[in-house]
């Protein structure tokens, strides 16, 4: 690599100018180092949120107040869920792929945990309240053969819950005036006090996911 800030040592009569250039050169290189450093931090910092150890740098900001409706019509808030850890996932019943895959996976993991499997709740929040009534969600989660608390609310209530979990969803129009929904595919593992402990990513390996759940109830 060529030196982008060359000194002019072939001009010995200009000593002062050469010293000045040397300082400028040093400052410029420090700036380059700073930019690289900031870039590296930006690249690797988000990984810490989903590391296998479950370390989470954002734990203070994920989770928070919400109020939604259960299939039986009862209201469920963040306070209702306190006292028992829970795994919470956002989706919609017309989701053909990620939602059944994830809910089925959670059911399987719970089964693998044996008696400890009862020590946490599985919560599914529909981000499609215009389509999914609380009753619809109740029938949907019943397909997975394990107790799953299905919730939804008004658009505003759903938005509030999604925001509280730093999750994401967005309706995307399809042909014929219909829509599908892009949404966060991660499962948030919340401790008994409602604080984020770790996240199971969509592509998390089975052993990693199981270890995280065991730690959640441990």
């Amino acid at each position: 690599m060529t030196d982008p800030f060359p000194e002019h040592e072939d001009e010995p009569s200009l000593t002062d100018r050469s010293e000045g250039l040397k300082t400028l050169r040093l400052i410029l290189w420090l700036l380059v180092a700073l930019v690289i450093g900031v870039g590296l931090v930006a690249m690797f910092a988000p990984d810490r949120a989903t590391s296998p150890e479950g370390e989470n740098v954002y734990s203070a900001s994920v989770g928070g107040p919400f109020a939604l409706t259960a299939p039986d019509g009862s209201r469920v808030t963040d306070a209702t869920l306190k006292g028992k850890p829970f795994a919470i996932f956002f989706g919609f019943t017309r989701c053909p792929d990620v939602c059944p895959t994830t809910l089925s996976r959670m059911a399987q993991l719970r089964k693998q945990m044996g008696a400890d499997g009862d020590k946490f709740r599985i919560v599914f929040v529909s981000v499609d309240p215009g389509y999914d009534s609380p009753e619809d969600i109740g029938r949907y989660v019943a397909l997975f053969g394990t107790p799953i608390l299905g919730l939804t609310g008004t658009d505003a209530e759903v938005d509030r819950a999604v925001k509280a979990y730093r999750a994401f969803y967005q309706k995307v129009p399809t042909q014929g005036g219909d829509y599908t929904i892009d949404h966060t595919a991660s499962v948030y593992l919340m401790d008994a006090s409602g604080k984020l402990q770790s996240i199971i990513a969509y592509d998390e390996t089975g052993p990693n996911a199981l270890a995280k759940l065991k730690r959640l109830v441990g």
Binding site: L143, T180, D182
Partner: protein, 173 residues
């Protein structure tokens, strides 16, 4: 033989030769009939009452010598049949309708599976029940309509042979 007839015969034979010679340097889409489509292991997942859409998965092989494309389809159990793809983008699942259809290359195959391409049965008229079979007609640009039957599996199934969604599945394969 009159001249117009000769011209027509020449034209017809040219068309036939083109149709029978998929190796010719012409766009695949014009080589009607030169693709041979076979659908294997078509399956779907059980749905709940009120869940008005379901996914369908299968392997589509084209043993012909011209490329083909799925452009749509129909089934008595749903109002619409759409072709979708799915991708993960920084922890967010993004589903997109393939409005131009899905290519099935000559001599190749396309697997529709969870986490990838899939057929969407939109506006379901009835729930899909595990253990049942559901007829599905897929429309191919070259091969025309191809009829298949989806085997409905439990909601948690990840592959056609799996009954209870057991095993490792992380959406990456």
């Amino acid at each position: 033989m009159t001249r117009p007839f000769f011209a027509a015969a020449l034209l017809a034979s040219t068309i036939i030769i083109t149709a029978c010679n998929p190796a010719a340097e012409t766009p695949a889409a014009t080589e009607t009939g030169a693709s041979i489509i076979a659908i294997s292991e078509p399956w779907s997942r059980e749905t709940a009452v009120g869940q008005n859409a379901g996914g369908a998965f299968m392997t589509i092989a084209n043993t012909g010598t011209a490329a083909d494309r799925i452009t749509g389809g129909s089934t008595p159990v749903a109002g619409r049949v759409e072709i979708h793809t799915m991708s993960m983008d920084g922890g967010v699942m993004r589903m997109r309708q393939l409005e131009d259809g899905l290519d099935v290359p000559a001599g190749g195959e396309v697997t529709l599976k969870p986490g990838s391409f899939h057929i969407m049965l939109m506006d379901l008229k009835q729930p899909l029940k595990a253990g049942e079979t559901v007829p599905l007609t897929l429309t191919f640009e070259g091969a025309g309509p191809v009829v298949t039957e989806l085997a409905v599996k439990p909601a948690g199934a990840m592959a056609p042979g799996m009954e209870h969604g057991e095993g490792e599945h992380g959406g990456h394969d």
